[in-house]
């Protein structure tokens, strides 16, 4: 592609970024520190209120837990499917299912989980019949644990889709070379497999974290806003259910951006460290 044509596309991309990412972010930031009398930190300070602090804690916990569950479980599923000797049909089956499940979120997913694991859900009732009452044992679908379980439904398949190419790129000759040099499978994964996969695993974790952190519909449909998340709180202040206060919404959004930027900065540093062997000299 000739340079001027390339710059045309790059320019268009930058314009889209500026219009739909940079400008809204800047406007949010300005809105969050602008009151009726001009500059104020009052809205930012409201983030320290119990209600919003808990919302951030819930969102962080939910994102950390579901991203970690997704990385571990999805990684293991992808590894099992790609293992030498695994049937080829299994790989296409898992890939197809993952593509569907990763996009199955929001109200339909909440309804599916309520039908299955709600207080009167099919699985709940079946387990009750055999003497296992989940809700008596402390489980609730309408809790942070229940939300984490529900989020895992789309996080795990998403991880399978993301990590499959990275696992497939591990050369069989690396494993064989390690084996003939005397390494156990554990030593191979510790010294070769996982370090090679580390940048991809970190990148996947970040994507899953962001996916959970910004999710709204599933949580709202499942808990009707009874469990405060940052996204449901933003919805509440914007829709006027509590009090129509767009500046607080802006402050909450800025808080979300700060969290994501912090997590991204940490992961970038970790990725750089994990992938220093790929740096070109």
């Amino acid at each position: 592609m000739k340079a001027p044509v390339a710059w045309l596309f790059i320019g268009a991309f930058l314009a889209v970024c500026a219009t739909f990412l940079v400008a809204p972010t800047a406007m949010l930031a300005i809105q969050a520190v602008t009151g009726e009398d001009g500059f104020t930190l009052a809205y930012i300070e409201t983030l320290g209120q119990y209600r919003y602090r808990v919302a951030f804690e819930h969102s962080l916990y939910l994102s950390l837990a579901s991203a970690t569950a997704g990385v571990v479980a999805g990684g293991l599923v992808a590894f099992a499917v790609l293992k030498p000797g695994a049937p080829a049909w299994l790989r296409s089956l898992v890939t197809s299912f993952s593509a569907v499940a990763a996009n199955f979120a929001g109200v339909p997913l909440a309804f599916a989980f309520i039908s299955t694991l709600g207080t009167l859900g099919l699985l709940t009732m079946l387990l009750k019949r055999i003497g296992l009452d989940l809700y008596d044992m402390g489980f609730s679908l309408f809790s942070i644990t229940g939300l984490t379980l529900t989020y895992s439904y789309f996080q795990i398949p998403l991880m399978v889709i993301i990590i499959t190419p990275a696992i497939a790129a591990l050369r069989p000759s690396w494993r064989e070379a390690a084996e003939i040099l005397g390494a156990t499978p554990g030593q191979y994964w510790r010294h070769v497999g996982l370090p090679v996969l580390a940048p991809s695993l970190i990148a996947a974790w970040i994507l899953l974290f962001g996916n959970a952190f910004s999710a709204y519909a599933t949580a709202y449909a499942l808990t009707s806003g009874n469990i405060g998340l940052v996204t449901t709180e933003i919805s509440a202040v914007l829709s006027g259910n509590v009090a129509a206060d767009p500046q607080i919404g802006a402050a909450l959004s800025v808080g979300m951006i700060v969290v994501m930027v912090t997590v991204l900065a940490i992961s970038t540093a970790m990725t750089r460290r994990a992938s220093r062997w790929t740096a070109r000299s």
Partner: protein, 362 residues
């Protein structure tokens, strides 16, 4: 150093037999090349020796000990793969010390051993480089050092030069030979490159369709191929099918001189093999001298100092070709389309039964 004995090994994949009752013995410190076309089973045999593939039947013995049921890690073998098998997340030094490291050797010993081996392969100054910072030849040198770091009884080389360019390939194969001699490790090299096999092996094992056709020294393989396949596969030359008639082979209506034909029953179907360097040409001047054949020049291929000339036998509708290698200046006199006189020493052609290749372990 150890002997390696492959004893009546067979292997099939999806109903297709890849190795058929194959036996081969390698002596201590010997370098044996498994040579053959793609799909002949040579890599399968190497992987069975390494322990990556179990044989259906037969045994593998190393230093007299049956290792057939042992895992690759328990066989004390080193292996160099085709290419790109270095661990990408480790420096050259860390790659080489990987074996001693997972064996739990002290760190100082690991580093000292790795340093010695990097020195042996001439890469001491690249010890801290990652694989992507090394050339293909350097990577394969590191792979060789890594394979030797575990002090293997047997070194297995799976087409280690196939991904390299021609010049590096020649340099590295000489280096492999030097290092193999210095370390004295019994080595099995898989290749489909006959020049590579002939240049560095103590013995060459020619394989086709899962069978060993001939195992012999490079010069024997070249001069005395055991069958038409080996003759065609090693070097170049003409294989002419005909019948034995005393001291000649009758091809179409021509009696081609070949004293070796006398060893065959008169009238038996045979293959006569003659190399281009054995065929002499001269212009056609009147009558054919005794033992000479009138042929037609079909094409010339310039090969540098030599020119290869393809000749066809008269009255054979271009079915039977001979080749002659001449000094390039001399070859200019033989123009395509002209009739010339071809001659060779009666003892030069090999004459073999015209049958499917037989097994010969020499």
């Amino acid at each position: 150093m150890a002997t390696v004995e492959v004893n009546r090994v067979s292997k099939s994949f999806a109903g297709r037999q890849v190795l058929a009752d194959l036996s081969l013995t390698m002596g201590e410190g010997e370098l044996v090349c498994l040579l053959g076309p793609s799909g002949c089973g040579k890599t399968t045999l190497l992987r069975i020796i390494a322990g990556f593939i179990p044989p259906e039947s037969g045994r593998v013995l190393v230093a007299g000990k049956d290792v057939t049921a042992l895992s690759p890690s328990a066989r004390r073998m080193g292996m160099v793969f085709q290419a790109y098998s270095l661990f990408p997340n480790m420096t050259a030094l860390d790659n080489v010390r990987f074996g001693p490291r997972v064996a739990g050797r002290p760190k100082s010993e690991q580093i000292a051993r790795a340093g010695q081996l990097l020195d042996l392969v001439g890469l001491s100054e690249h010890a801290d480089k990652y694989p992507h910072q090394l050339s293909g030849g350097q990577q394969q040198r590191v792979a060789l050092a890594r394979a030797l770091a575990v002090q293997p009884q047997v070194l297995l080389l799976d087409e280690p030069l196939s991904a390299l360019d021609a010049k590096v390939r020649v340099q590295l194969r000489e280096e492999i030979r030097r290092i193999q001699r210095e370390t004295g490790v019994t080595t099995v090299l898989v290749t489909h490159d006959q020049e590579e096999a002939l240049s560095i092996s103590d013995r060459v094992a020619v394989m086709n369709e899962g069978r060993l056709l001939q195992v012999a020294s490079p010069s024997t393989i070249y001069r005395e191929p055991s069958c038409g396949f080996v003759a065609r596969f090693i070097g170049s030359g003409a294989v002419l099918r005909g019948v034995a008639e005393g001291h000649s082979v009758r091809v179409a209506n021509l009696a081609l001189p070949a004293s070796a034909a006398a060893a065959h029953v008169h009238g038996a179907a045979v293959e006569m093999f003659i190399r281009p360097e054995n065929v002499r040409l001269q212009p056609m001047n009147g009558q054919l001298p005794p033992g000479a054949v009138g042929v037609e020049v079909r094409e010339r291929t310039f090969l540098g100092s030599l020119t290869r000339i393809r000749l066809t036998l008269p009255g054979t509708d271009d079915q039977f070709s001979l080749w002659a290698d001449l000094a390039s200046e001399q070859a200019e006199a033989f123009i395509p389309g002209s009739r010339v006189v071809a001659q060779w020493d009666e003892a030069a052609p090999r004459v073999m039964p015209d049958a499917d290749a037989g097994l010969r372990n020499g």
